[in-house]
Amino acid sequence: MTFRVGYLTPREASIWGLRRQNLTQSDIGRELGVSRQAVHKAYQIIDHKLEQAFMEAAETNNLEVETVNVVEGVMLAHSPAHDIPVVVSVSKVNGLKVWYLYEGNCDSCHLETSCRNILEAEALERGIRLQSLDKWIPPTQLAKEIFGRYRDD
């Protein structure tokens, strides 16, 4: 149970993952061999833990929270210091990540490969199908493709 994965235990993380696949509480209960009531209780604990992790991430990074979507594991926020929108994401594979939405420059960044791997894994876990062309675009654009869909602006 660490901040990195939103304080979720492996069991809670698997329930959260199944919930994100739009399975009902009964389906998840059947899948994991527990009652629907147990899944419902787990939902409450997961929501509380993820909200707590998001709030701490916002506080640490000096962000103003706009909306929190615990089902998708996404928090929309705003950075007053940089005056730009921010997306904070939680996933089983990458943990908690902060994404600043602006024109990033990947040309001179040594983390390009690792950033691309993070984003591809994120897309895979979120069920976002990347086009073959997306493999060639800079990670900064790929990040927009993945997290931009959670914002309306």
Partner: protein, 96 residues
């Protein structure tokens, strides 16, 4: 309108690498692994073998590299095999 996205805020100094310092010795260690050595030795051995047996292989007595679209065909085969290897590795990585 959202532009792009980055893990670092605007103006932040990005770290060199999360996989350790990128100095000459670590780069050399990364390059000099068993697979690379095997590939280089194989390539050298095949080149030497080919150059030694060139006269017996080249019956026509003309430069084989510029006949029968040799270079084009070899480039095409190399590209195809490279793409197959890439997609196979991607498939295995995603399956994990």
């Amino acid at each position: 309108m959202i532009k792009n996205a980055c893990q670092f805020p605007p103006g932040a100094v990005k770290p060199e690498s999360i996989h350790g310092p990128r100095d000459q010795s670590s780069l050399l260690k990364k390059i000099l692994n068993k697979r690379t050595l095997f590939l280089v030795v194989s390539l050298l051995a095949l080149t030497v073998l080919y150059s030694h047996s060139y006269s017996s292989l080249n019956w026509g007595g003309s430069p084989v590299l510029f006949q029968d679209w040799y270079i084009v065909k070899m480039s095409f085969y190399t590209y195809i095999s490279g793409m197959i290897t890439y997609y196979f590795r991607e498939y295995r990585r995603k399956k994990k």
